[in-house]
């Protein structure tokens, strides 16, 4: 559950989610659940001309299983803390 907790600390930050169908969406992270399903607000599709159907959409729910990458804001992440948490998680399991 490390990355679930990790993503919870990122709510309210702007992230870019790249999906397995090569669609990239930027938005404010609203919530995340245990499957790493993601909800974004104020979304913007990176290549909007190719996806005109998404112009009517402001917020979206993305199924965790279709996510390829998530680009995170560097200043919102403490890598040392993440490192420690990883070791702690490994010890506890």
């Amino acid at each position: 559950m490390l990355f679930y907790s990790f993503f919870k600390t990122l709510t309210g930050k702007e992230v870019t989610v790249e999906l397995k169908n090569d669609l990239s969406i930027t938005g404010i992270l609203h919530s995340v659940d245990q499957y790493l399903n993601i909800k974004l607000n104020e979304i913007k599709v990176v290549d909007e001309e190719k996806h005109p159907h998404l112009m009517a959409v402001q917020n979206c729910f993305i199924r965790g299983s279709v996510v390829r990458y998530i680009q995170l804001p560097q200043d919102a992440i403490d890598t040392d803390l993440l490192h420690d948490a990883t070791r702690r998680e490994a010890r506890n399991s």
């Binding site: 999906l19 159907h53 729910f61």
Partner: protein
């Protein structure tokens, strides 16, 4: 006997606590008009009525929105639709006022089917041409 009962209680409690957690993100969207993008690229629009933790989704009065180039068409799919969660890519709430993209032009189902076929044919031709070019390069 008693312990068994307690265990069951605990299980029930845990279930009660856990259920809203899974699906909370989806439950907020209930009874709103949604656009769903499927893994095969199809777009379904409908009134979102039910869901579960797998993101299986139920829609009322759904229609498929087909977009080809600058044209689009909505084709009704019946009255109730259950989408299996594994096919779902994303679901977004549609604002009532802004449902139809202004840059697109609405056409009849027959026209959109024709446009779809034309696009498919074009892609097929492009594919075979690329294959031939690959072949020439290998020689």
């Amino acid at each position: 006997m008693d312990q068994g009962g307690q265990g069951q209680d605990r299980l029930a409690n845990r279930h009660q606590v856990r259920t809203p957690l899974h699906a909370k993100a989806l439950i907020e969207e209930l009874d709103h008009k949604q656009l769903v993008v499927l893994r095969d690229g199809r777009k379904i629009v409908g009134l979102f009525r039910s869901c579960d933790q797998f993101a299986n989704l139920v829609f009322q009065d759904p229609y498929e929105r087909i977009i080809v180039g600058k044209q689009y068409c909505d084709i009704p799919l019946g009255s109730i639709y259950l989408l299996r969660g594994e096919n779902v890519v994303l679901m977004g709430r549609i604002d009532d006022g802004k449902e139809y993209p202004l840059t697109l032009q609405r056409v009849s189902p027959a026209e959109i089917r024709k446009a779809q076929e034309a696009e498919k044919e074009e892609q097929r031709i492009r594919g075979t041409m690329l294959k031939r070019l690959d072949f020439l390069e290998l020689e």
